[in-house]
């Protein structure tokens, strides 16, 4: 294993989504794991090619929704049946059917807030600084260019060998990304 202080990784630029997908698959087969692919839009199969098969987002959002449902109902039960009970002609204080709309709204609200803030947290955003932003051509990753970055922390990373490997994938350009 080669340690490369001051180097974040090697960035290879590709022409099209298809070539990026193929390159990513080859890199995974070659044993590289600490890498990431960048594209202006989601490419089907690319996360799988990187070995990222499942995201925890659905579970997080489910938990958020359950918290919203339980706390929404509990809020109304506490307000209308415990803290400030009003006896209207002997009708039951726990008038749950009339509490469904607010319970539903709070379920959706908490689930959605969990979804958005969970997404940002799992992606580590906001991230004002990232080594890749040093690479001038990387600004095209949000427009029309497709990148694969093998990071220097990968156990198999070796500057000349990895560079040769990437060159064999037919990229448009290879850049060393400083830390």
């Amino acid at each position: 294993m080669d340690t490369n202080p001051g180097l974040y990784g090697l960035l290879a630029e590709f022409d099209s989504p298809q070539t990026l997908l193929q390159a990513t698959r080859s890199a995974y087969e070659a044993g590289y794991r600490r890498m990431d692919a960048y594209a202006p839009f989601p490419i089907e199969g690319l996360p799988d090619a990187l070995g990222f098969h499942r995201t925890r987002m659905p579970l997080l959002i489910l938990i958020g929704g359950l918290v919203g449902a339980v706390s929404g109902f509990a809020l109304q039960y506490y307000c209308a049946a415990v803290s400030y009970p009003i006896n209207v002609g002997g009708r039951p204080l726990n008038s749950w059917p009339s509490w469904i709309p607010v319970t539903f709204e709070l379920t959706v609200l908490i689930a959605s807030l969990t979804a958005v803030f969970g997404l940002l947290a799992l992606c580590g955003l906001p991230m004002p600084y990232h080594p890749l932003f040093h690479v001038p051509r990387f600004s095209r990753a949000t427009r029309d260019a497709f990148f694969l970055c093998i990071e220097s922390t990968d156990p198999r990373f070796n500057l000349p060998a990895t560079k040769d490997f990437l060159a064999g994938l037919n990229p448009r350009e290879i850049t060393e990304v400083p830390q």
């Binding site: 959002i61 709070l106 979804a115 958005v116 427009r143």
Partner: protein, 471 residues
């Protein structure tokens, strides 16, 4: 460069049936990105933009002036009084919130239904939702009389030791509308993040880079991020779908839970939801038709989009017309003298002219959308959409005023007429809405760049390429 090829987005089968494509021919990933973002990043603001913004901003000032005078004098400056205590405030609230519904329908429900044609219209339809909800919220807020106590509607431990009445639809409304506003904002912002990053990377001006950079939060298009992003976006759509249906249902409960004749009806929830989508699509058409012409976006907002929106408008309009029919039928069939009187009073009473105008707008005028030649003509679609918007406003006017002004006891009857301040507040919100739309098209990408690029990539994979790749 292999991706720089011309790809017409017409499925061979669709093309043979004469269905227009969802995107004009000859676009590449790069040209899509540049065409959309250059509207925002253009150095010069078009003169027509300034003119439009100035006019709509003047109406926004009118709104501010009305609100200031209202706070100074109280709600007595409006035409409301007993028995019609709810006049324009509730009419305009329901009208605006209904308009907002189309944005969520396009962005969430059509996403779940895999409708490709939603892609180029969802961004500004969502912006329309946000601005419509913001305007809707103003009306109940200022109808309260002392809006600075609005927080009394929220459940919080207080020294008065009371809580909101959770058995009341008015409290449900507070939760429904505030949840709807929040979720619409989140959905819109999540959709914007990748495009904000595109703008950040394309901007030349340092200040502009920093502003878009902050808003993009360091998005860099990582495949890991995209996977979580797509999953989140899909689940948000699944959450927003029942939400949008619940919001107008709860709004209709404000009426139907009351025992007033003409309001106390089980048809209200579906009929209100259909009416909301109907007026919302009309508003999307009213905004889309001038926008695509002015900014030359006919390749992205094609005739396919206009035709499909016209079809949705027609379908929901027919549901609304069915609602009117059932309302009238139930009025006579119920055998209830009050219900029957309310129907007769609507049709032939002092507000009959509004009723028949609404029937003309919402039942008769929209029948022209059955004709393909009308659906293919943007000018006609624009005019019919305006008629629909007027019709839906009249519908709320008829529902609110005719039921309230003559209820069970003739001794409590009265009449209602809006004052000049009712009109300035209403026109002011229209101005405010359009001013916000003007700012939106200037400052943010009005079409989702990353989704248009996905659309292009998908059609390439699906083999919807009729010409061979060049170069």
């Amino acid at each position: 460069m292999t991706q720089e090829t011309e790809i017409p987005l017409t499925h061979p089968k669709e093309a043979s049936e004469g269905i227009p494509p969802v995107m004009g021919p000859g676009y590449t990933f790069r040209s899509i990105s540049e065409k959309i973002s250059s509207i925002t990043l253009a150095r010069r603001t078009p003169r027509a933009w300034w003119l439009g913004f100035a006019v709509t901003f003047a109406f926004t000032l009118l709104l501010l002036y009305t609100i200031l005078y209202l706070l100074f004098q109280g709600v007595g400056i409006w035409g409301i009084n007993v028995p019609v205590a709810w006049g324009f405030a509730i009419i305009n609230f329901v009208w605006w919130i209904g308009i907002g519904h189309a944005g969520t329908l396009i962005s969430a429900i059509l996403l779940l239904l895999h409708q490709k044609w939603r892609t180029s219209i969802n961004r500004f339809a969502e912006a329309m939702t946000l601005f419509a909800v913001a305007n809707a919220g103003l009306f109940p807020l200022f109808h309260m009389g002392r809006p600075w106590f609005f927080y009394w509607l929220l459940p919080y431990p207080n020294t008065m030791r009371v809580w909101p009445q959770f058995r009341s639809p008015l409290v449900w409304d507070v939760f429904a509308v505030s949840t709807y506003g929040t979720v619409s904002l989140l959905f819109w912002y999540v959709g914007l993040i990748p495009d904000l990053a595109t703008l950040r990377d394309r901007a030349r001006n340092r200040f502009v880079q920093i502003i878009y950079g902050i808003m993009a939060m360091g998005w860099r298009g990582s495949a890991y991020h995209w996977k979580r992003y797509e999953m989140t976006y899909l689940i948000l759509a699944a959450l927003a779908t029942p939400l949008v249906l619940s919001v107008h249902t709860v709004v209709s409960f404000d009426f139907s839970v009351a025992i007033l004749p003409g309001w106390h009806s089980t048809i209200f929830p579906p009929y209100f939801v259909a009416g909301a989508i109907y007026s919302g699509f009309a508003m999307v058409l009213v905004l889309a038709i001038p926008l695509r012409t002015f900014y030359g976006l006919q390749d992205f907002i094609t005739m396919r989009h206009l035709q499909n929106m016209a079809k949705v408008t027609l379908a929901t309009g027919l549901i609304v017309g069915y609602g009117y029919g059932i309302e009238a039928f139930m009025g006579f069939y119920s055998g209830n003298i009050y219900e029957k009187f309310t129907q007769l009073n609507r049709m032939f009473g002092p507000y009959a002219v509004y009723y028949w105008a609404l029937i003309f707008c919402n039942v008769i005028a929209i029948q022209s959308l059955w004709f393909k030649s009308v659906r293919n003509n943007p000018v006609w679609l624009f005019l019919i959409s305006l008629i629909v918007l007027v019709g839906m406003w009249l519908e709320r006017y008829v529902i609110v005023i005719t039921s309230l002004h003559r209820d069970f006891l003739p001794s409590s009857w009265g009449n209602y007429a809006p004052t000049v301040w009712d009109w300035t507040m209403y026109l002011g919100t229209i101005g405010f809405f359009l001013a916000l739309m003007f700012l939106f098209v200037r400052l943010l990408p009005m079409i989702s760049i990353s989704e248009m690029q996905t659309l292009l990539a998908e059609s390439k994979e699906a083999g919807e390429v009729t010409t061979e790749e060049k170069r």
